[in-house]
Amino acid sequence: MKPVFFLREALRALKRNAIPSFAAMATVLVTVLVLGVFIPVVQATTGAANEVRGKVIADVYLKTDAQQKDVDRVERVLKSEPMIKSVEFISKDAAYKTERERNPKAYELLGSNPLPDTFRITPGNPDDIAKIKDALAPEAAGGGRTVIDPAIDEVRNREEDTNKILAVTGVVKITMALLAGLLGVASMLLIANTIRLSLYARRREVEVMKLVGATDWFIRWPFVLEGVIVGLVGGVLAIALLAVVKIAVVDPLAADFALIAAPDTIDFPLLIGLLLVAAVAVSSLGSGLSLRKFLRV
């Protein structure tokens, strides 16, 4: 292999086949651009969905006459339950303060604190919330619920809200995963397709090369390098555009975005690397593989 020779060949081919080269580059540019916009959106959406799911909780109300030892016992019980990720204790007084702030009118009139001590539990997996409730307060034969500790008054998880959150975020996450997959596959197909087509326009040339005694790889290397260059240039242009948009439009709005962006949103340098590698890989592999059919001379 003579890298310099093949590289020069690839550059010449790009120059002399301006139209198909440009078309292939444009396809890479457009698809990378679309991917570069969608990947963060998908990430942010999934992150937001996860954040919302993280808010799925259940409250364990203790009886109003519960003693400190009851509280400790219940806490131990809750902490020993493997499906529960964390347990937060909200004392009567803390609860009263919060409620009072939320609804001063009503609480003004109350002399004493009517609220019980509460444990707020966050499940490891939000989907387990119903199971946790069942574990802490198994359904009784009669239809009501018993509780596993006498100091527990009731276990509540705002059933309707929780179910809705779980269903919605579930659909959102699945949809996003499907969209990301679809878009990824579509991009690869589109790039490979364009490259196939631009090779098709040059199939006679490949035929002649073979007839003159060139080996398959002698012909293929320049095409692969051409693919690398096309992928690189298309990718870099797309990323430059993305960077401009990010700096000019997204960053000033970052405050707004922060509201939905979850902490695990992909970071820009990683995204760039990923897109670039993908663009180069698809276009060079596409070139190399599509060529096979025309090499059969």
Binding site: V212, G213, A214, V297
Partner: protein
């Protein structure tokens, strides 16, 4: 050098382009392949360079059965052939110089070799002023001469020329024939398909005539002048003209 035995080539079930032809060409021979349009000359040549496979029969070149060359080895086989295609088959994205250089590059020829050989052969074919033209910026005859130069450039042991002078004026044709003659003198086996009867007559070499895929004539010219020098050859060619 070349041996066809019972070679048949059918493009379709109904009629055959070559209908069981057999002949032998010895190393160093100069052979004309003639026959009217569609008689199978190009088909024979395409079989010889393994562009096509025969439907029956055996072709041996330099003792090797073509059928037995595995696909990855075919390029190496082709490098021993210089081929002038009837439709030239130039690379449209390369200049005259680059087209000829490509034939050296495929065999691993270095820059130096290219710089030495390419301008030489282009001067011999009268293309010195067109080095940097692309094929679509050349006249028909100029394109043909590029094809000729490409076939000659790496001094192959076997030269196959399909109608090499169809678009050339008589003067240039004689020049090309002279070149072929000289190459033949250095030991290269030469096989030329042509319609140029006056050329065939003047060259006085072995002639194989095809008609509808069969050999109808295979004869040495009576006045076969093998010992002629290139100079004598040229003088005779020119004097016979007119």
């Amino acid at each position: 050098m070349i041996s066809f035995s019972g070679v048949e080539k059918r493009y379709s079930a109904t009629d055959s382009a070559l209908d069981g032809i057999s002949f032998d060409i010895f190393p160093g021979e100069f052979v004309f392949l003639v026959g009217h349009s569609g008689s199978g000359k190009s088909t024979a040549m395409k079989l010889l360079i393994k562009e096509l496979e025969p439907t029956a029969g055996e072709i041996r070149v330099a003792g090797r059965d073509l059928q037995k060359i595995p696909r990855p080895r075919v390029p190496y086989y082709r490098r021993n052939l210089g081929v002038i295609f009837q439709d030239y088959k130039l690379l449209p994205n390369r200049t005259v110089y680059e087209n000829v250089a490509y034939a050296l590059q495929v065999t691993g020829g270095g820059r130096r070799e290219i710089r030495d050989k390419v301008p030489d052969i282009l001067r011999l074919t009268g293309l010195s002023t067109k080095l940097h033209n692309y094929p679509d910026q050349l006249s028909g005859g100029e394109q043909q001469r590029v094809a000729i130069a490409r076939a000659f450039v790496n001094h192959p042991p076997l030269l196959i020329a399909d109608e090499p002078t169809g678009n050339l004026d008589p003067e240039t044709s004689i020049g090309i024939m002279q070149l072929l003659y000289r190459i033949n003198q250095t030991g290269t086996t030469v096989l030329v398909a042509t319609h140029d009867v006056s050329m065939v007559d003047k060259m006085r070499r072995r002639v194989i005539e095809l008609s509808e895929g069969r050999i109808v004539r295979d004869e040495q010219s009576a006045a076969y002048a093998a010992a002629e020098s290139t100079r004598e050859f040229a003088i005779r060619m020119r004097s016979a003209q007119g």
